[in-house]
Every structure is written in structure tokens, then in C-alpha cells.
């Protein structure tokens, strides 16, 4: 069910979605996982209508190239059935507790990465919570495709999932939605999140996922060429527009950062053939000129095919405009450099031993730490901002005897 509506129609739609929650809460979690997996597999399959629609519409709405979209669909859903089964098992309430799902949850999405909706949609439905998805007006294709695919598989479950696009300036519709939701999970800028938080009641569960970025690290014993190829994929994925995209890669002073930078530029250029970058928006192009100019003025700039790598010695990481511009810096104090990102650091990719790097990160940093090449391929059950993906969708009721 998907609806753009005035306030009265929105209220009716919310009534229907909330009513579908009763049936949802009575279902076995494993069966929900099966149905959701089936829906995503249909979108991943280029031979099916959902899959064809995804490949036709997402490049247009996202600005990503078709090969990039196809890659993202392939890797995101390659193990979706097993990952959903695993997530479902983890979500069973511990002994001595019973779950108390929200009656209705609002999921507010940003528009920068089209697969960002997958994890919260899965977690929300596995938490047995009816969902109202407020998609970005710039890109609501993926959540709508999901609900359409879900309806093909299981109409009753699809009734528990509503996608709305609320245009800017219709604050009354947002107010209606937030008043009804007893849980809100939101993705966006600091300003967006503050605005939402200020409009929620004190009793509404609110989980915020602010914008952020990623950082890479090459340990002294890493093989540089392989590390460069892995990180090139991390940089190129989603044209470096995501919250997990690495903007800078620190190379331990024991390794040859200059050589790594050259390998990285070559690997990124090679990816332009298989996963070309989307068209560059003018304002990003203007920012790119500025960023590359600074790199060239004070360090080394290696420009490749629709990409650039800077090497600027042992200096603090400098934010890039994204779109396949990445900074390489030398360091023997990576944890200190990482700490500068604070809560905005979402993912650390490591060419080397992720565990060693994770242990060195200062508290309260809580990024996802993973091998290089997987920065933009989190598993469905991965923590988000240090929290389980079902955070906020349900509470646990303790039963003392």
C-alpha cells in the first residue's frame, strides 16, 4: 500500500496499517523472515518484473549508473535469506522476557543510498511492528518496490507496511504521522534529526541515525596492491555518497603510502569501466575542483578516470566532496585521527586485522569495523551506530516470578 494524501486520508491509512499489526504480532518470526527474503529476492532478480523495475527506475532516481545499481542489488541480497533467518533468531526475546513491539513505527529515510532502507525495513517487520515509511521525496523507489514485491508474496504482511512521500511544507502531515507513531527511527542530517526530535512526545521511542562517513586503515603488514583494490570498491560503491563511504585512508608509517595512493588511483580508474560513476552534479563538481586544488597545492594529486586520490603526508584527514575523491594520509596514530570524527564515524575498513584496530579505538567511538572491501556491504544484522538494528522498534517486558 502506498499513499500520497491529505491529512484525513493519511489518518485512515494509518488506521489500516496499525490494524494490520494485530495479525503481524501473531505470526511466527521465522515465517516473516521467509516472506521478507522472498520479496527482496524478487527485487534482486533481473528476470522478474520487480527486478526489472528496480533496474529501470533506481538509476534514474538515484543518479547511479545501471552497473552500480546492479552490483548493489546483487551484493546486498546475495545471502538475504540466511541473514534474515539469523537476524530473526537473534531477535527472539531472552528467557524471562516478552517482547512488546511498538503499535506503529515511523521510519524516516534519507535519500543518499538506495539500499539504506533494507536493514530497518527488515528489522521493523521482524520486530512485528507495522511500519510507515516516510521516504525521501528525491528517491522513494526502493521502499515502494519492496512493498509491491511484498504484496506479491504475502498481501497481509504488505498491509502492515505503508510508504508515504510527504512534500516539504506539509508539516501538518508529518505532525499527524509523528503523533500516531510510538517509535520513530530516522536517518538524516543533524538539522533534520533535531527537527524531528523537537516534534515528538516524551514517550515516543526515537532512534537517530545521523549522517556520517567512513575511514580506512592500511596496517604495516598489509599487501598494498590488494588493499588498494579492496578500498577502491569501498570508495566507488554508491559513488562515495553513503554514510559508510571512506573519505580518507590512513596508511601506517611503516608502509609506503605514496605507492598505495598510486595503486588506489589505478584501481579506481579500472572500476570506471565496470561500475561507472554517475553524472556529476554541478555543485559537487565545484566542490571537487576546490578539494583537488588543495591536494595539488600542498601534496600530491593523482587524477584518474572520474576519480582522484590525494596524498598529503601526515596531516588530519580532510573531508572530500565524495564522488570518488579520496585522501590518503600517513599515520602512526590512526586511533587519534579516527577520534576526530566522533559520532560521525560510521565504518572503519581495515586492510589488516580489524579486531586490533577496533580495540585501539577510543571510547565512545562505535563504528562498524570490517575488512577493506566490505565497508559498504554490512550484513543485515550488523549494528548501526553501535545499536542493534531492531533498536527502538520494540521493548522487552520482564517477567519476574
Amino acid at each position: 500500500m502506498s499513499v500520497e494524501t491529505a491529512e484525513g486520508a493519511l489518518r485512515e491509512a494509518l488506521d489500516r496499517v496499525e490494524a494490520a499489526g494485530e495479525g503481524l504480532r501473531s505470526r511466527d518470526r521465522a515465517s516473516i523472515a521467509d516472506v521478507v527474503a522472498e520479496a527482496w529476492e524478487r527485487i534482486a532478480d533481473p528476470e522478474l518484473s520487480c527486478g526489472r523495475a528496480a533496474r529501470e527506475r533506481i538509476p534514474v532516481s538515484s543518479g547511479l549508473s545501471l552497473p552500480m545499481v546492479a552490483w548493489a542489488l546483487s551484493v546486498t541480497f546475495e545471502d538475504v535469506r540466511a541473514e534474515l533467518a539469523s537476524l530473526a533468531a537473534r531477535m527472539e526475546p531472552p528467557e524471562g522476557t516478552r517482547e512488546a513491539p511498538a503499535r506503529l513505527s515511523a521510519l524516516v529515510l534519507a535519500g543518499n543510498v538506495f539500499t539504506a532502507c533494507v536493514a530497518p525495513l527488515c528489522a521493523g517487520l521482524l520486530a512485528k511492528v507495522p511500519l510507515v515509511v516516510k521516504a525521501s521525496t528525491k528517491d522513494d523507489v526502493m521502499p515502494r518496490l519492496f512493498v509491491d514485491a511484498l504484496r506479491e508474496v504475502d498481501a497481509a504482511l504488505a498491509d502492515a507496511c505503508l510508504v508515504v512521500a510527504i512534500p516539504g511544507g506539509t508539516s501538518n502531515l508529518e505532525a499527524t504521522l509523528f503523533a500516531r507513531a510510538d517509535a520513530v527511527s530516522a536517518y538524516g542530517t543533524d538539522e533534520t534529526l533535531r527537527s524531528i526530535r523537537d516534534r515528538l512526545s516524551a514517550s515516543t521511542s526515537f532512534v537517530m541515525h545521523g549522517h556520517g562517513l567512513g575511514l580506512g586503515y592500511v596496517s604495516p603488514d598489509a599487501e598494498l596492491e590488494g588493499a588498494a583494490e579492496a578500498f577502491a570498491l569501498d570508495v566507488a560503491a554508491y559513488d562515495q555518497r553513503g554514510c559508510m563511504s571512506p573519505h580518507a585512508i590512513g596508511v601506517h608509517k611503516g608502509a609506503d603510502a605514496h605507492r598505495f595512493a598510486r595503486h588506489l588511483a589505478a584501481a579506481l580508474s579500472a572500476l570506471q569501466t565496470t561500475m561507472p560513476r554517475g553524472p556529476l552534479p554541478p555543485e559537487v563538481g565545484a566542490a571537487q575542483v576546490q578539494w583537488r586544488g588543495v591536494a595539488e597545492a600542498r601534496g600530491l594529486l593523482i587524477e584518474g578516470s572520474c576519480c582522484a586520490v590525494s596524498y598529503e603526508g601526515d596531516v588530519p584527514p580532510r573531508l572530500t566532496p565524495g564522488w570518488r575523491n579520496v585522501m590518503v594520509f600517513e599515520t602512526d596514530r590512526f586511533a587519534e585521527r579516527a577520534a576526530a570524527y566522533g559520532a560521525h564515524l560510521k565504518t572503519v575498513g581495515v586492510a589488516g586485522e580489524p579486531d586490533r584496530v577496533a580495540r585501539a579505538l577510543p571510547t565512545p567511538l562505535s563504528p562498524r569495523v570490517c575488512p577493506a572491501g566490505r565497508m559498504q556491504r554490512p550484513r543485515l544484522g550488523a549494528l548501526a551506530d553501535g545499536l542493534p538494528p531492531w533498536q527502538g522498534f520494540r521493548r522487552l517486558l520482564s517477567v519476574e516470578t
Binding site: 534519507a110 543518499n112 543510498v113 542530517t189 543533524d190 538539522e191 545521523g210 549522517h211 556520517g212 562517513l213 562515495q240 555518497r241 553513503g242 554514510c243 556529476l280 552534479p281 554541478p282 555543485e283 559537487v284 563538481g285 565545484a286 566542490a287 571537487q288 575542483v289 576546490q290 578539494w291 583537488r292 586544488g293 588543495v294 595539488e296 597545492a297 600542498r298 588530519p316 584527514p317 580532510r318 573531508l319 572530500t320 566532496p321 565524495g322 564522488w323 576526530a340 570524527y341 566522533g342 560521525h344
Partner: protein, 342 residues
């Protein structure tokens, strides 16, 4: 030749050529062939003396962000007479533009302002809605307005921050007034003055400049112009916007006081304005949108070829601004991240 430049005959020769060019085109004329020869000589001289620019020779125009990270000057710091600094309120680190000598800056500023802002009057009463130069020694705008006080002012009042004195000054005005200030100062004035309206004497004019820099709510240029016209009782043609930046020595103005109907920015004859493709940096034709590059001959002691972040179109040799890129802040990332990284 100033004492600061006494040991630099190469510089002095260029300075003399630049000054001669400015004076020759003070009437608003242009000789682009002569200007291009001068800019070419200047760029070559600067590439040898300004290290970061020399590294960018292939790129040929220095992006403004470079001023935030490295020193951009052809002279050592001990010869600085001024250092202009960007406001830093929207982008963390402040850019710095060191100057060894202010004579070319003064000549360019006076010549352009005479042509565009005070074409019909030698001197007039001025009200400046900006900090005094002594209160903001690193502000090129405050410095310029201070020079306007000397060159074009009879009585000059300074109001910053804008407060109730503005209304008192305007109510008592019996002669034409030049009201000059930043865009955010005019927004603050709107909030200060409530419902009061004024009818400034004929011959009054307004100059507004700059963005809002996070210091006030942002208002569309046309809306602000209408608000100013209504508030102060001046025709919209008497409201002139100025375009300048810390990294330049010259300013560009709209020519509505000279009867030019459009709102594009006039490019003085010692400045070249072109728009560039955002990926190739190739020069685009008139009418095509791209990022604005300014070649400012008055920028003797830094770099004359400056690449801005501003999206623009050039039509009939004048600049039409389309907005400013958000700097290095990528889509989906907040200003807070950039500030955290410094």
C-alpha cells in the same frame, strides 16, 4: 614605490603596468587583448614566486580553498601590511590573503566604486552597517568601507551591530544617503525596524554585499531587494549589489545606478571573468553555466587567477550568479563533520 617594495624592481614594474591598466579603463572600457598580455605576464611571475600556485601551473587558477590551508603570497610574512581573512562562520578554517602593499587594492576599489556606486556624486553622507576597520582589521570589506569614508564620504556613521540608532539617523536625514552593508546586516535591520518605513531623499542609494554566512536567516536576493526598497523608500534601481571576496583585490558591482537594467555584475576592465566546466575546467561559452573563474590583475602579491566555487553564467561580459556550491560538504554529510575535522 613603497618602502615595502623597494628591493623588488620586477614587482614594481608589474605594479606600474597594473595601475596604468586600471586608470586607462576607469571609464568602463575594456581592452581584453592588452589585459590578457598583462595577466599572462603576471601569472608567470607569480608561478615562480608563489609556491602553491607554481604547483598548480597546469591547472592555471588557484581554488579559493587553498587560501585556507597554505600561505598564498609571493613575499615573506614579515612584509605583510595586511592579512585579509574569510569569515569562517560556515566552513571551519579561515582563508588568509596576505598583502604586501595596499596601493593597487585602493586604486581598484576606488575606481570600481566611482564607476558603479558613486557615478553621479563626488561625496555624500554615508551610513555603514559593518564593523569599523579598526574593529575588524582582517576584514577586507571593513577596510574598503573605511576607504570609501575617505574618498566618497561627507559625514559617515558606523553601525555594527545594527541597533536603534539606524532609525534615528534615517528619520533625521535631509540629504541623500549612501547606506552600505552586508546582506545579513540588512536582514538584522529588517528585524530591528519593525513596521517603520522611511523615505530617503532623492539620490540615496544602497549597497549590499555578501551572503548570510549563518549570521541571519537567508532571504532570496529579489526578496531582500524588495524589502530594502520598501523599507527605505528607494527605487530598486538604487540598490546595488557588490560581489567580492577575501581572495580578490577587486570588486564587481551591478550597474543599475548607471541605468543598466539587468542585475548582472559588471566586470572591470582589469579583471577577466570566465566560467569553467566543473570536470575539465575548460572555458565555457557565454550563456553556459559553470564555475566562475576570476583573473584579477590587482592581485599582484598573491595569485591573479582565482577559481571560485560560485556557479555562474557570463552574458555580454557580465556575471550572473547562480549560487554557491556548499564547499567541501558532500551530499548527506553535515557541516558538523567538516567542523569536527577542522
Amino acid at each position: 614605490m613603497s618602502a615595502n617594495t623597494a628591493d623588488d624592481p620586477g614587482r614594481d614594474a608589474l605594479a606600474a603596468q597594473i595601475a596604468e591598466r586600471i586608470e586607462r579603463v576607469a571609464d568602463g572600457s575594456r581592452d581584453d587583448a592588452a589585459l590578457d598580455r598583462l595577466l599572462g605576464a603576471l601569472a608567470s611571475w607569480q608561478a615562480r614566486r608563489v609556491e602553491p600556485y607554481g604547483r598548480l601551473a597546469a591547472r592555471a587558477a588557484l581554488p579559493t580553498d587553498v587560501f585556507r590551508y597554505v600561505r598564498v603570497a609571493g613575499h615573506p610574512p614579515e612584509l605583510d601590511v595586511r592579512v585579509w581573512r574569510t569569515s569562517g562562520t560556515t566552513s571551519g578554517r579561515r582563508g588568509e590573503h596576505p598583502l604586501r602593499d595596499l596601493s593597487l587594492y585602493d586604486l581598484a576599489a576606488r575606481t570600481a566604486a566611482r564607476h558603479a556606486l558613486f557615478p553621479d556624486v563626488e561625496r555624500m553622507r554615508l551610513i555603514m552597517m559593518a564593523p569599523r576597520p579598526e574593529d575588524a582589521p582582517d576584514s577586507s570589506l571593513s577596510y574598503m568601507l573605511g576607504r570609501f569614508q575617505s574618498w566618497f564620504g561627507t559625514r559617515t556613521d558606523w553601525l555594527f551591530p545594527v541597533d536603534g540608532r539606524l532609525g534615528a539617523l534615517l528619520r533625521s536625514a535631509r540629504e541623500p544617503i549612501g547606506l552600505l552593508g552586508t546582506s545579513f546586516a540588512f536582514v538584522h535591520a529588517e528585524d530591528q525596524l519593525g513596521a517603520e518605513r522611511f523615505a530617503l531623499p532623492a539620490g540615496s542609494r544602497v549597497m549590499q554585499t555578501g551572503g548570510f554566512k549563518g549570521r541571519s536567516r537567508a532571504i532570496e536576493p529579489e526578496a531582500l531587494r524588495r524589502a530594502i526598497a520598501e523599507r527605505y523608500g528607494v527605487a530598486e534601481a538604487s540598490i546595488v549589489e557588490e560581489y567580492g571576496m577575501t581572495e580578490l583585490s577587486s570588486q564587481m558591482y551591478q550597474l543599475t545606478l548607471r541605468g543598466v537594467a539587468h542585475r548582472r555584475f559588471w566586470v572591470p576592465g582589469w579583471v577577466r571573468a570566465t566560467v569553467r566546466d566543473t570536470e575539465t575546467l575548460a572555458e565555457l561559452s557565454e550563456g553556459e553555466a559553470g564555475i566562475l573563474r576570476i583573473d584579477d590583475a590587482a592581485n599582484l602579491d598573491s595569485v591573479c587567477a582565482i577559481q571560485t566555487s560560485d556557479l555562474a553564467v557570463v552574458r555580454d561580459g557580465a556575471i550572473e550568479l547562480l549560487g554557491r556550491a556548499s564547499g567541501a560538504t558532500p551530499r548527506g554529510c553535515s557541516l558538523a563533520i567538516e567542523e569536527a575535522l577542522g
